[in-house]
Amino acid sequence: MLFQPAIIALLLASAVSVLMLLAATPYAWQLVRRWDIASGSELQLVLERRTYLMSTLLSFVFATQLVALLLFVFNADKMAVMFVGAMCAVGTLNANAYGFPALISQIAVFFMAAVWLVLNHVDSRAYDYPLVRVKYRLLMGILPFVVLAFALQLIYFLNLKADVITSCCGSLFSSDAQTLVADASALPPQQGLWLFYTALLTVIAVAVQHARKLRAAYVVAAASAAAFVAALTGILSFVSLYVYEHPHHHCPFCLLKPEYDYQGYWLYLPLFVATAAGLGVGAIQPFARVPSLAAVVPQMSRRLAWIAALGFAFFTAVATYMVADSNLILLKD
């Protein structure tokens, strides 16, 4: 199954990313160990020049990862027609044991990459590169995950056999199965609604509060992560039902299909952007006391908090509109 254009493109992007990161690691290590902004030695000069290359390269690699996630999901959806029993991305990802791990690791890399890009941006705004060490340590922390994501993707695609009968979203997201996802799907719509709106309204409130008064940055990050989970649970438990107008179809991937006018993208894109921004608020907070960042961090933090608040608000509005616009009646008041 390797000879599919999108698969080749995905593997190419992942492999090149891994290679570039691996090539950058020794330099990153050197930067972490030998960096001394006060020194005027030749080595420091070389290192300073190299940081330009490193941050360009890494920004590029991480930006690639962000796009690759989108392409991965889109590809899984497109390939569904090639598997017996598959009707959307779920079937494709379920065609062997590595599909969902590959997706989840790709999502994890997405958020780590986003946080790294935020840190990098903050660092480049200060005159003395205060975050160089942090950034490159973090890079070495992210590297294993990128390698893992690539490995899982490779194994997944290598093991894809078109004649496999996979289970479609109906069985995976049905309320009777004994999995975590099924628990989320089985959550009664009423509780799902509560959880969904509480978490989202909380995160919006906290983010707006932070944007205005710069308080409780870590709470914003935590609330964003919680809202991400709550939002996915909400999609599983009731939003999807309203979109499909079918009381037992809980699939979060069918939303992306042309049959439903690609509505899913209106949900997932703001959700991912907002969550990444919310996490970024928490990620830069520890450095608010660094003298050269004293002006940069609050400004950046504000901006990220606004992005998070608007993203989550947009997401909530879209989900609410989907529910309101639907002909399905789940709850009678």
């Binding site: 000879f3 599919q4 254009p5 090149v16 330009y52 590029f60 989108l70 889109f74 090639m82």
Partner: protein, 383 residues
């Protein structure tokens, strides 16, 4: 935010004039880049359109086809064959189909002969002695409605038919080599006894029932071969994807060559360019600014090449029938249909194409650009 936009605008402005100063070098790069995008985009657009066409054609075909096998070969099937099963729940309609192949010495090609059921095509019932022919057959044999045509059947007898109509050109992809005749004529021509058919088509309304029905039939009738529409679709999808993938892999050599070319172009800075960067840094540009300028340069070149290449590929595929890739991607036959593909543009394809072209270009130019950007002003101006 406004300052940021103004800044980028100024950078783009500067980059454009800088590109214009070295027209020849940049046009060379642009040309190669455009050709690469054009090649890859042609392959993708073409296979995608073929896939689309196949799916459209199969949309109206029956969900399940049952054939009878004798000694591993496809054999005639009596209509009563399925009665053994009794009524199968979920099957809306079953219909025996008559079709066969006939080799015509005159044009050295195979025709597909069919006796359609009266409601399945737009000509009503075909009278005995009349024939409706596909557009490619009409072309090859120079026939118009009203002409007579004779075939010597496999039994040795000569049959003469009057051409009643030529099938419309729009349907040529499926009907190029098709001859439609009445059931009586068909049975006489191929010497098929009454009550026997080539296969039986079942229509099933609920797609989720198709597999159950298929397994029920195959359990009760072990000598039946069951062909499902979704399986045919899947096969087409696989074949076209596979062909597309193979061509792309073959073209990967050229992508690699292009990446090396881009690397060379980006690292082989002329003395004048070096001096330019040196002067920029001397008047206060930072390394980051030079990098940004170079980034805009890459983005502008990529975008232009991508647009030009993609538009050229669009015309190549949908207006010139993809003359370059036709033989590999389409397949081959004597009576090959002439058809214009319906233009289908797909965001997914564009994203994939982007990964195949802009991604390698960017990877290849990062290091050379950085090398150029860290140039010391004094080193350049002294030298």
């Amino acid at each position: 935010m406004k300052i940021w936009i103004e800044r980028q605008k100024a950078l783009i402005d500067f980059t454009l004039s800088s590109l214009a100063r070295r027209k020849l070098k940049n046009l060379g790069l642009l040309l190669v880049y455009t050709v690469i995008v054009f090649l890859l985009a042609s392959v993708m657009l073409y296979t995608h359109a073929l896939r689309h066409e196949a799916a459209q054609v199969l949309k109206n075909s029956p969900e399940v086809i049952v054939q009878r096998m004798v000694a591993g070969r496809h054999d005639l099937i009596p209509l009563g064959y399925l009665e053994k099963l009794g009524r199968i729940r979920g099957v809306q309609n079953k219909e025996g189909r008559l079709w066969g192949y006939f080799y015509d010495n005159v044009v050295s090609a195979n025709y597909t002969l069919m006796a359609p059921s009266p409601e399945s095509h737009g000509f009503g019932r075909i009278a005995d002695g009349k024939i409706v022919i596909g557009a490619a057959v009409a072309r090859e044999r120079g026939l118009v409605p009203g002409n007579l045509i004779s075939f010597r059947s496999y039994t040795g007898k000569l049959f003469v038919f009057t051409v009643a109509a030529v099938l419309p050109h729009e349907a040529e992809l499926v009907s190029a080599d098709l001859l439609l005749l009445s059931e009586t004529d068909f049975r006489a021509f191929f010497d098929i006894p009454a009550g026997y058919y080539n296969d039986i088509a079942l229509s099933v309304a609920n797609p989720q029932e198709v597999r159950n029905i298929a397994s029920k039939i195959s359990e009760t009738l072990p000598d039946a071969r069951i062909i499902l529409r979704e399986e045919v679709l899947r096969t087409y999808e696989s074949i076209f994807n596979w062909r597309e993938g193979i061509v792309l892999v073959l073209l990967s050599g050229s992508i690699l060559a292009f990446a090396i070319f881009a690397w060379e172009k980006a690292s082989g800075l002329s003395a004048e360019e070096k001096r330019e960067i040196g002067i920029l840094k001397a008047i206060g540009w930072e390394t980051g600014d030079v990098l940004k300028m170079k980034f805009w340069e890459g983005a502008l070149v990529s975008l232009t090449a991508f647009l030009l290449g993609y538009v050229a590929a669009y015309f190549h595929v949908f207006h010139f029938s993809a003359a370059l890739f036709e033989p590999v991607l389409k397949g081959w036959s004597v009576l090959y249909p002439r058809f214009e593909l319906v233009p289908v543009v797909d965001g997914f394809q564009i994203a994939t194409l982007f990964f195949f072209t802009v991604f390698p270009y960017t990877v290849a130019t990062i290091v050379p650009i950085w090398r150029a950007a860290i140039t010391d002003p004094d080193a350049v101006m002294r030298g």
